[in-house]
């Protein structure tokens, strides 16, 4: 596991992967609606009185 080739290859893969992900997130940030900071969701949903508004994989619609 401490083989330098393994470490080098892993670093290279990680670099490529995180570069692609960073570019994607930046592209999405640039094309999306601006974040409304005045309408920030509550830090803790429990007890806030606001229903959760996020997407979830259990949603059928």
């Amino acid at each position: 596991m401490s083989d330098p080739t393994v470490k080098r290859d892993q670093r290279l893969r990680a670099l490529v992967f995180w570069s692609v992900l960073t570019v994607f997130v930046a592209w999405d940030w640039a094309r999306s609606d601006p974040v409304d900071l005045r309408n920030e969701p509550p830090l803790i949903a429990a007890g806030s009185g606001q229903a959760a508004s996020g997407g979830h994989c259990s949603l059928a619609r």
């Binding site: 893969r13 940030w29 997407g55 994989c57 059928a60």
Partner: protein, 348 residues
């Protein structure tokens, strides 16, 4: 990671920044403890080794003990309620089968990609594509027949839902005990530590986000954004993505989406662990690569039909008292039994 946390706190919301930290914890726990749902099931079926599945049962029980009372107390908190039906049965079966070939479920693919395992890095975009396509086709699958989601908390109350969940989990443990025999070691510190940490983090996710931990939705959303931007697909013409909630999430940055931010956190947490223990993965032949990538795509597609993966449907479904989690589990395990044979046939 620190810079991204500060950026989220200043430019998006404090909640998303904290959820990113929760995601990092999940990724570190999954990768550090090698808490693989797929591996645990395979060890049980092939070697009659119950340690991984015992860890998963402990995770389910602890998460349920925390989540079900919270859902009964705070009306803002939502359970992971998926509709039982044809889509769920077929989706869970195919997911359980393909996750053995791809050697990772939704969370497993994430943390292994974060660790730098080549096959899982390759699978991730195909998983996202499959998840997107599954959501696009979801209305057609639902048309084959389904019931409304069943929330045990609504049907039998908080105490009833919690007792029913714990009794069912205990029955599973008894069944496993009969299968593996009395001489087996049941507990492993690594699995138990992972279970406890993940149960705490899943509860934090529920308290902060107002919804249980999920993985698959975020990936589908990411690919939907790409498809929309390319101009080849119009979300307004699709039954799922034209719904108000999904349409608004397509318009806003993915950094506002809950599952997207915890997914990025999981990747980052696994990367942090990977820096300490590199994992090159096993070298694969071109045929194994092709089969593994196809399995990854099918895994993404079926996870949408099944209303979640091991995290969104099994962990979050069962721990929040959703009937669909209890249908998902046996169907996915049945698929896994075939997936293990296919895995051996293709010499993974």
């Amino acid at each position: 990671m620190a810079a991204f946390f500060i950026f989220l706190a200043l430019q998006v919301s404090i909640r998303q920044a904290v959820l990113f930290l929760v995601g990092i914890g999940m990724g570190a726990a999954l990768a550090g403890a090698r808490f693989g749902f797929t591996t645990g099931w395979r060890q049980l079926a092939r070697e009659r080794d119950p340690r991984g599945v015992t860890g998963q049962l402990v995770l389910l029980a602890l998460a349920a003990v925390c989540a079900i009372p919270l859902i009964g107390t705070f009306p803002e908190l939502q359970a992971a309620l998926g509709p039982p039906g044809v889509s769920l049965v077929i989706g869970a079966f195919v997911f359980g089968l393909t996750m053995q070939i791809a050697d990772g479920c939704g969370s497993g693919t994430l943390y292994k990609a974060g660790l730098g395992v080549p096959l899982n890095l390759g699978i991730l975009p195909l998983f996202a594509f499959g998840s997107f396509l599954g959501s696009v086709h979801l209305d057609r699958w639902l048309a084959l027949g389904h019931l409304e989601p069943v929330a045990m908390v609504d049907q039998i109350g908080v105490s009833g839902a919690l007792i029913a969940t714990l009794v069912l989990l205990a029955l599973l443990a008894v069944g496993i005990r009969l299968w593996v025999g009395p001489q087996r070691c049941w507990f492993d510190r690594r699995w138990l530590t992972g279970a406890i940490v993940l149960a705490v983090l899943a509860t934090l996710n529920l308290l902060i986000a107002g919804q249980p931990w999920g993985v698959v939705y975020g990936f589908g959303l990411w690919f939907a954004k790409l498809a929309q931007a390319s101009g080849v697909w119009d979300p307004a013409m699709n039954a799922f993505w034209s719904q108000a909630g999904h349409a608004s999430r397509l318009a806003q940055t993915l950094l506002m989406d809950i599952t997207s931010i915890t997914n990025i956190g999981i990747l980052a947490g696994a990367l942090w662990i990977a820096a300490r223990s590199p994992d090159a993965g096993k070298p694969l032949t071109p045929r194994q690569w092709a089969i593994g990538l196809a399995a990854g795509f099918l895994m993404g597609y079926s996870s949408r039909l099944a209303f979640g993966c091991n995290v969104g449907a099994m962990l979050s479904g069962i721990s929040t008292g959703s009937l669909h989690g209890w249908i998902w589990l046996p169907m996915a395990f049945a698929g896994t039994l075939i997936g293990i044979r296919l895995r051996e046939r293709f010499r993974f």
